[in-house]
C-alpha cells in the first residue's frame, strides 16, 4: 500500500503561496454549500450575498473598514508579542482598559480643542492598556508565571473593572438608571474622514508604519525578533531578554488600548458595558493567518472583518440562522490556517523506491 509522508520544504515555491488561499476558500465554500443545500437554500445566491455584504458596495466596504480598524490595531499588538514568542492572549482586556483610559481623559479634561483631546485620549488609552500588559510581564519575570494564563485571566478582571466603572462611579445620572457614561462631547469623537470611516483609520496607518519601521530598522526590533527565534542565542548575545519581554507586552497592550479608545470614541460615543465584543480574540486569529507580517495583517483584518460583516447580510437576505454565520466564518478560517501547512511542508508519495531510499 502506498502512503504519504510529510516532508519539510527547503524553499517554499512561489506558486504555493499563491494557490493556498484561494484553494482553502474553495474548500470551505464547498463544505458550506452542502450545509446550505441541507437547508434548501441556494449556495450560489449565498456566496453572492455574503460577498456583497462584505465587499460588494461602497456601503459594505465602509462597514468592513469600520470593523477592520479595531481588529487591525489589536492584531498588530499581539503580533509584536508573538514575534518574540510571548503569547499575549490579553488583547481583549487591554482593549477594555484602553476604553477606560480614553474615557477617563474625556471625563477629566473637558473643553480642550479636538486634536489635543483626541491625542490625549489615545495617550491615556495606550498607557492604560500598556500598564495592563505590564502586569503579566512582571509576573512572569518575578515568579515565572506563564503569560498565556495570566493575560487570559486579566481579560476577565479588566472587563469587570470597566463594568464596575460604568455601573458605579461613572454612571451618567441622566441615563435613566442604565449603566453607561454620558455621551462624549464633539471634540472627543473621532471625525469621519473617508465616507463614514472615522479617523481611527489614520491611527492604524501611523501605528502600522511605526511598528514596521521599529521591527525592520531598529536595533531593539532586531533583538526582539532574534529573542523570539532563539532565546538561547539571544542570551549569548547579551540581549536584555527581561527588558524586551516587558517592552513587547507594554507595546502590545498599548496598541490594543488604542483600539479600545477608537471604539469608545468613534462607534459608541460613550463607555458602556458591552464595549468588548471579541475583537481581542479575533485579533489572535488574524495574527496567525497573516503569519505576523504587518502588511498581511492589514489585508487579513479587512478580510476577516468583511466575512463578519458579510454574514449579517446572509441572515437578512437568506434568513439562515445566526449560528450559520459563525460556522461559515469558523470553517473558512480553519481551512485557511490548515492550508498554511503547505507553505512549509509538502506531502510525498511513499513509492517502493522512494521509501527504500529514505
Amino acid at each position: 500500500m502506498d502512503g504519504f509522508r510529510v516532508v519539510r520544504r527547503q524553499t517554499p515555491p512561489g506558486w504555493v503561496s499563491f494557490a493556498v488561499l484561494p484553494a482553502a476558500l474553495l474548500i470551505a465554500l464547498v463544505f458550506c454549500s452542502l450545509l446550505l443545500m441541507i437547508q434548501d437554500k441556494s449556495p450560489v445566491k449565498a456566496a453572492v450575498v455574503l460577498f456583497q455584504g462584505g465587499f460588494g458596495s461602497l456601503y459594505a466596504l465602509q462597514d468592513t473598514m469600520l470593523k477592520a480598524i479595531p481588529i487591525f490595531l489589536c492584531s498588530l499588538g499581539v503580533s509584536v508579542a508573538f514575534r518574540m514568542k510571548v503569547w499575549n492572549i490579553g488583547a481583549e482586556g487591554q482593549f477594555a482598559l484602553g476604553g477606560v483610559g480614553a474615557t477617563w481623559a474625556v471625563l477629566t479634561f473637558s473643553g480642550l480643542p479636538m486634536p489635543l483631546m483626541l491625542c490625549l485620549m489615545l495617550l491615556c488609552a495606550a498607557v492604560a492598556g500598556g500598564l495592563w500588559g505590564l502586569i503579566p510581564g512582571y509576573l512572569r519575570l518575578k515568579f515565572g508565571l506563564n503569560e498565556i494564563i495570566s493575560t487570559l485571566m486579566l481579560n476577565y478582571i479588566g472587563i469587570e473593572f470597566m463594568r464596575y466603572l460604568v455601573y458605579g462611579p461613572w454612571k451618567d445620572p441622566g441615563s435613566m438608571g442604565f449603566p453607561m457614561t454620558g455621551l462624549f462631547p464633539e471634540e472627543a469623537v473621532f471625525p469621519e474622514v473617508l465616507g463614514y470611516v472615522h479617523a481611527g483609520l489614520l491611527v492604524c496607518v501611523v501605528a502600522a508604519v511605526a511598528v514596521y519601521v521599529f521591527l525592520q530598522r531598529t536595533r531593539l526590533g532586531f533583538e526582539l525578533c532574534v529573542s523570539g527565534e532563539n532565546p538561547r542565542a539571544a542570551r549569548y548575545a547579551r540581549i536584555p531578554y527581561g527588558f524586551l519581554l516587558m517592552f513587547v507586552l507594554a507595546l502590545s497592550g498599548a496598541l490594543a488600548g488604542m483600539a479600545g479608545c477608537v471604539e469608545v470614541s468613534a462607534t459608541f460615543n460613550r463607555l458602556q458595558p458591552n464595549l468588548c465584543t471579541g475583537y481581542g480574540y479575533t485579533a489572535i486569529v488574524v495574527a496567525w493567518l497573516s503569519r505576523l507580517r504587518t502588511p498581511s495583517i492589514a489585508l487579513f483584518s479587512v478580510f476577516v472583518a468583511g466575512l463578519l460583516v458579510g454574514t449579517d447580510n446572509l441572515q437578512v437576505d437568506m434568513q439562515v440562522p445566526a449560528a450559520f454565520g459563525g460556522i461559515l466564518e469558523g470553517f473558512i478560517l480553519l481551512c485557511v490556517l490548515a492550508g498554511q501547512f503547505f507553505h512549509s511542508y509538502t506531502l510525498v508519495r511513499m513509492g517502493r523506491r522512494q521509501g527504500g531510499a529514505a
Partner: protein, 361 residues
C-alpha cells in the same frame, strides 16, 4: 515570497469584490408593499424574549402585502448599528429592534432616515419616526410573586437576573412586593448573571441559589436554564417570557408572560391604514400584552382565587402595584402611604424594596 503571499491575499479579496457585480440578485422584491425587519439580541429558538417577538413577525408575514426578515443574535453596539443600517439601505419601511442597547444606534439612524418607521422596545427615546414601546410586565410579576410567596416553605426565593438595569430591578421589586403581600416573612435572594442568553450560566446561577436554601426559582433571562435547575432539584419555578412549563413540567408554578403579537397586530393595522402615531407606549395587564400563564397543578385553589382577584383589580385599575407605603432595603420610605410611584420613578429604578437580599448594582 512575502510579495506572493500578500499578492495572493489581495487577489482573493479583489476576486470577492468583483463577484457581486457579475450577478443580479434583487429584482424580485418590488411587488410587496411593506417590508418589516426585526433585530433580536438572542436566537429566536430561545423560547423566551426573542421567540415571543418573532411570533409577532410570523403573524405579520402571513398578511398579504407584508414581507418580513429578521436577524438574531445581534450584539448590542456597533454590530447593531450596522444591522439597522443594512436594513435601511435595503428598502425596509419598518425596522423593529427589541433590546435596550439598540436604542442609541436606532435613534441616530432614525434622524438620517425620516421616511422609515423605527420601533424600539425597552428604551426611552422616541421621535416623529421612532416609537419606544414596552409593557408593564411588573404587574404580572407582582401576581407571580403572590403565588411564589404562598408556595415557599423555606421562606427564601431565588431570583436569577440578567443585568442591574431599571427594567430588571423594577421586576424584582414588584415580585417581592407580591411575595410579601401574602407572606411578610419571605425574602427574595438575587444573583446577577450579566448575560441575557446563556442557558448554562443561568442554570448554574439557579443551582447556586438552591444550594443556599431557596425553594422557588424565579428569573429574568431569555433562556429557560433556571427552570431546568429547579426541575432537577425538585424545587418550584416561576417562568418568564413564555409559559416555560415544558422546560420544567413538575416545577412550574406560574409564569409572567408577554404576548407581543397583540402589539404587532395593532401596529401593522394602524400603520397600513396610515393612522399609526409614533410615541411612547407602555402597555399593562389591561391591554393584554402582559399576562400570567396557567397555574401548575400544585397551586391550591385558594391561592389561585386570591391571585385572580388581585389580577382583576389591577386590570380594572383599582389597584396599582407600587402603591405606598414602599420602603427600600435600608428601611427608607420611597413611596409614602396613599401615593403611587410615578412612571418616572419606575423607569429609572435603581434600588431594591425591603425583603430583597442582594445589591441593585
Amino acid at each position: 515570497m512575502r510579495f506572493f503571499n500578500c499578492a495572493a491575499a489581495f487577489l482573493a479579496v479583489c476576486g470577492m469584490a468583483l463577484l457581486p457585480f457579475a450577478s443580479s440578485a434583487s429584482a424580485e422584491d418590488a411587488a410587496k408593499n411593506v417590508k418589516v425587519g426585526f433585530i433580536y439580541v438572542s436566537p429566536v429558538g430561545d423560547e423566551g424574549w426573542s421567540w415571543m417577538h418573532d411570533q409577532g413577525r410570523k403573524m405579520m408575514e402571513e398578511l398579504p402585502g407584508v414581507e418580513t426578515a429578521m436577524m438574531e443574535s445581534v450584539p448590542e453596539g456597533p454590530d447593531a448599528e450596522r444591522a439597522i443600517k443594512n436594513m435601511c439601505s435595503k428598502g425596509y419601511n419598518v425596522i423593529v429592534a427589541t433590546s435596550f442597547g439598540y436604542m442609541d444606534p436606532m435613534a441616530k439612524l432614525a434622524r438620517r432616515h425620516p421616511d422609515i418607521t423605527f420601533l424600539h422596545c425597552s428604551g426611552y427615546k422616541h421621535s416623529d419616526n421612532m416609537t419606544c414601546y414596552f409593557g408593564r410586565i411588573y404587574e404580572a410579576r407582582y401576581l407571580t410573586g403572590m403565588v411564589a410567596g404562598a408556595m415557599t416553605k423555606t421562606n427564601e426565593i431565588g431570583y436569577v437576573a440578567a443585568f442591574p438595569i431599571p427594567e430588571v430591578v423594577r421586576g424584582i421589586n414588584a415580585f417581592t412586593l407580591g411575595v410579601r403581600s401574602v407572606n411578610p416573612e419571605a425574602k427574595v435572594r438575587v444573583v446577577w448573571t450579566r448575560t441575557w442568553y446563556s442557558p448554562d450560566d443561568e442554570k448554574k446561577a439557579a443551582e447556586g441559589l438552591l444550594d443556599v436554601g431557596v425553594d422557588v426559582i424565579v428569573q429574568h433571562q431569555n433562556s429557560a436554564g433556571p427552570q431546568v435547575a429547579a426541575e432537577e432539584r425538585g424545587a418550584y419555578s416561576v417562568g418568564y417570557n413564555t409559559d416555560m412549563s415544558s422546560a420544567a413540567p413538575k416545577a412550574h408554578l406560574v409564569a409572567a408572560v408577554w404576548d407581543w403579537k397583540k402589539f404587532y397586530e395593532k401596529f401593522i393595522n394602524e400603520y397600513r391604514a396610515g393612522t399609526w402615531k409614533n410615541g411612547n407606549y407602555w402597555y399593562g395587564l389591561s391591554d393584554g400584552i402582559v399576562d400570567i400563564s396557567a397555574y401548575g397543578d400544585m397551586v391550591p385553589a385558594d391561592v389561585r382565587a386570591k391571585v385572580d382577584a388581585a389580577k382583576a383589580s389591577i386590570v380594572n385599575g383599582t389597584y396599582k402595584v407600587f402603591s405606598g407605603p414602599v420602603k427600600d432595603q435600608e428601611g427608607k420610605e420611597r413611596v409614602p402611604a396613599g401615593q403611587v410611584a410615578p412612571d418616572e420613578m419606575l423607569l429609572s429604578m435603581d434600588w431594591f424594596v425591603e425583603g430583597v437580599i442582594g445589591t441593585a448594582r
